[in-house]
Amino acid sequence: MIAKTKADKKSSISDEQLIARFQLGDVQAYDLLVRRYKDQLLNFVYRFVGNRTDAEDIVQETFLRVYKNKHMYKEIAKFSTWVYTIAGNLAKTELRRRKRHKIFSVSNFVNEERDYDIPDREHSPEKKVDSTIQEDIIQKAIEKLPPKFREVIILRDIQGFAYEEISQILDIPLGTVKSRVNRGRLKLQEDLKFLYDNEPKSTA
């Protein structure tokens, strides 16, 4: 999982203790939780919806719901599980809304750009593609994944969650999570192989 800030590392107060304090009315505890999670939630949602402004609005709405529904949180779950569940549900709602309004169209960017000719300046496989362009292509490939694969790939390979917690966040069986991660990774490989073809096989 994304590392917490240095200030937070120093603090021995767990997320669960903070939400408990907030449930008793300590607004400062809420602010601390916001500071701990705002950036990692933004990255999660941004990778999911592909638009920074929308992502930030969704994270705002997530924290607003945490504020309003603080008593809905039960100690049986980790706070991170709860807040990621809220953010994930809001992100999926946003995708459905876009689909309804036909704002969002599935990008064929990756397929169209398979013949993208990028100069191989340093003859290094790792630097075959300019990093910014490569990041953009990878992001488009993530967005092209079906949402059920997309969410597990982001949580597992970008955010670094354990399979068990992904299972709790998405409320699906552990085996389903692993299966979806595998299929998502294979799908990404299929869509991005043009970036890594003809590379030496020594890295395997």
Binding site: I2, L24, G25, D26, V27, Q28, D31, V34, R35, K38, D39, L42, N43, Y46, R47, R52, E56, V59, Q60, F63, L64, Y67, K68, Q134, E135, I138, Q139, I153, D157, I158, G160, K178, S179, V181, N182, R185, L186, L188, Q189, L192, K193, Y196, E199, K201, T203, A204
Partner: protein, 176 residues
């Protein structure tokens, strides 16, 4: 190869290092004679590393400010109020004290207005009755500084004090 599709289901576990030793050996053996699967697995590993290296974006600087505004606009209770004030008792007591103070002040102020003329009469009577200062024999410089009472008192000698108020100082002095 017939085994390829079946073995692909284990690629993720292999990548995560969560695969039984026997299954791992089976995959490695398969890779040694199946360049197709070997290449897929190699690319999956590179993509996984690339995903981890994707840049992290940060929320805008006013994120928390906007959030606070949203919470405030939503009418959420207790927002921006210190936790100590969240109970109804303390604010109620505070309000009662403030009201009592303001009420007392208004009552006193009202009564002082009514008695103002009386006080003025008493003042004038007291002024008339007050002992008259004797003619000051101090130098003009001392006279100019006489308004600054603290300086005057600090620098005054007993003799000077006698000059200021003969009756009062002498009474104090005599009492010693």
């Amino acid at each position: 190869m017939p085994d390829c599709d079946k073995l692909k289901t284990s690629f993720s576990d292999f990548l995560d290092g969560e695969i039984p030793l026997e299954q791992r050996k089976q995959l490695e053996q398969h890779f040694s004679h199946c360049p197709y699967c070997h290449e897929i697995f190699r690319q999956m590993r590179i993509i996984q590393q690339s995903l981890k290296k994707l840049p992290h974006i940060r929320t805008t600087p006013d994120f928390e400010k906007r959030l606070h505004q949203q919470i405030f606009n939503s009418g959420a209770k207790n927002f921006l109020v210190p936790p100590i004030l969240h109970s109804w008792k303390l604010p109620a007591m505070g309000s009662a004290i403030v009201l009592a103070t303001v009420g007392l002040f208004l009552v006193l102020d009202n009564s002082s207005d009514q008695n103002n003329s009386t006080f003025r009469n008493v003042d004038s009577q007291l002024n008339t009755a007050a002992p008259q200062f004797p003619v000051n024999k101090s130098t003009p410089a001392q006279a100019a500084g006489s308004e600054n009472s603290s300086t005057r008192i600090q620098s005054a000698t007993p003799a000077d004090s006698t000059l200021i108020n003969t009756e009062g100082v002498q009474q104090v002095g005599n009492s010693k």
